[in-house]
Chain length 345, copies 2
């Protein structure tokens, strides 16, 4: 899922998202609640109509953004009180409010309110927080009003196997249409990401979608698909694009490097996207160096195309069932892991 | 002609320019000479291939940008010495150099090097400068090497009828494929623009294209077409778009105004562009207020669509020959005149 934080995937027309095979978008409840406001979006016919996207939309609960606010938020049993990053105004996000906002937005899939726990939290903190996340999930279900809107539960439990297991037990007993795994890709390291990710996904009901939130790099997605995950969101393809970092089947390219100044070849010989079919690396570098908007447009178009072909290849490998069909990445890239479920606003 | 200063019409994919009926672009020699360099563009197969635009391209001579540099340039019979706005490096632009650069870029129409005279210049200055512009035009013709590249002469002469006339006499005796009128739309006022524009265009050879440089506002273009001009360039549609000022057949709209916050209607009911067919004024306002790149994309797409339909209507009125078919604008807009032949870089 490309990330459309403020009701737009940055630098992409909806028709271009459609053309590259995009099936579903993620939008951020926190941002849309603050600006332009969920009531306004409801009044205008809902998020799909507002942003002219007729495919499915998943909305997060706003929790992740709020927990990232640090000193600007305070958690209680009731919910999370926070100050707007836009104007400092004070707001309360309860499980019921998170549902109300997502219903007003009219997303196809709503996420429960959860607390995303930092990887260095103590066992005691993780236990208490995860138990509260389960109580919040039950309250979200109780607040559910909109027929047809799916709802996903979220598994927390930090890096503790038994706490993950008890969260899975509690959540999978609830009537959610799918499950997400949270609290990963937040700096816990690759080993923990793969270990907790694998053991969690293996214990979730396989007949319902399993979604690994905020992850991430192509190699992480590939491993997670093989472990059993079905859904992902991440700003890496779009944010990297705007920073000039481009994905190719031969590895990542930093388009601003001087070596590309006279390079008449396409970004990726084997890529069929509009950018690779029409422009040289030299031109892409020129646009980046000159600070042109078209740089963000073409780079984003390419990176999203790359990610969508990566997922196509995964689907094909699963369908055919031949291990040699799994996509091969040039090299693991060196990016730090980062749960990056929102764009800058 | 939309303006593609740095080898891109800001925020527009070439395929979207094509789709809205764009027939020809203007690119800025001064900017491309400094970055990425005309030699590099030649090496990469020329400007068309570099920016993936297969329609015609007109390049200016770079003169206008240099004369706008003020204290950073010095004019002599040989040419104009100037300092780069990017790094302060010193360069000399002669008529021969202006041709060499435009030939390297490979534009379809090259413009001669001229001096764009400020409207408050004395008669003596205008006379001397215009005579030099004529000598420079002859040197440009002498430096011409590239078969198939058209070349346009430029009429100067300030606000003095007799100096305009003698410039027309000298220029139209030279084998140019078209003529441009310069030194208008630079703050001389509407009356002078229309007066000088009309008398100049009426005396130019009607069988060759007549191009009014850097003008401008819809009402100016409409008057100039009726006076006899065939070609225009201006950044108004694109720059205004990025500033949130949008053209409609009911007048100009400043999309950031609070009155549009809940406006579910399209920008212009009668417009068939992608933006008006899909998005509300409320959404366009949200994108602008949130600082989203998509704001520039959709606004530019709309404004260029508006300008192209304006030109379509002019062509149709000329073809049919019925005065009542001339497009009607809602009201003259209050924008200051400004010869704006380059985008910000």
């Amino acid at each position: 899922m490309p990330v459309g934080t403020q009701a737009t995937v940055k630098a992409m027309l909806p028709r271009d998202l459609h053309d590259l095979g995009c099936q579903i978008l993620l939008c951020n409840t926190y941002h849309l609640y603050l600006r332009p406001g969920h009531e306004l979006i409801r009044e205008l016919g809902g998020l799909h109509r507002f942003m002219a996207w007729d495919g499915p939309i998943l909305t997060d609960s706003g929790g992740y953004q709020i927990f990232s606010l640090g000193a600007m938020r305070k958690i209680s049993e009731e919910g999370a009180r926070f100050q707007s990053h836009l104007d400092g105004s004070s707001h309360m996000l309860t499980p019921e409010k998170a549902m109300e906002i997502q219903e007003a937005l009219g997303s196809d899939i709503a996420m429960v309110l959860d607390e995303c726990i930092p990887p260095d939290a103590s066992r005691e903190y993780v236990r208490d927080s995860t138990e509260r996340t389960i109580r919040w999930a039950e309250r979200c279900l109780g607040a559910r009003r909109k027929p047809g809107q799916l709802m996903f539960g979220i598994i927390q439990g930090g890096l503790f196997d038994d706490l993950r297991q008890s969260c899975i037990d509690a959540m999978s007993a609830l009537p959610f249409e799918g499950f997400a795994v949270g609290g990963l890709g937040v700096g816990e390291g690759e080993d923990q990401l793969y270990r907790i990710g694998s053991l969690t996904v293996a214990r979730l009901p396989a007949e319902r979608p399993r979604y690994l939130m905020g992850v991430g790099r192509p190699q992480d997605i590939l491993k997670a698909v093989r472990a059993g995950f079905d859904m992902f969101d991440c700003v890496i393809p779009t944010r990297n694009a705007r920073n000039g970092t481009l994905f190719t089947w031969q590895g990542k390219i930093n388009i601003k490097r001087a070596e590309f100044a006279r390079d008449s070849g396409p970004l990726d010989e084997s890529c069929g996207c509009y950018c690779c079919r029409n422009f040289s690396r030299a031109y892409l570098r020129h646009l980046y160096v000159a600070g042109e908007i078209l740089s963000s447009q073409l780079n984003t178009l390419h990176n999203l195309y790359f990610y969508h072909r990566l997922m196509d290849k995964c689907r094909e490998a699963i369908r055919v069932g031949q291990p040699e069909l799994w996509p091969r990445l040039a090299e693991p890239d060196g990016d730090a892991q980062a749960q990056t479920t929102q764009e800058d606003s």
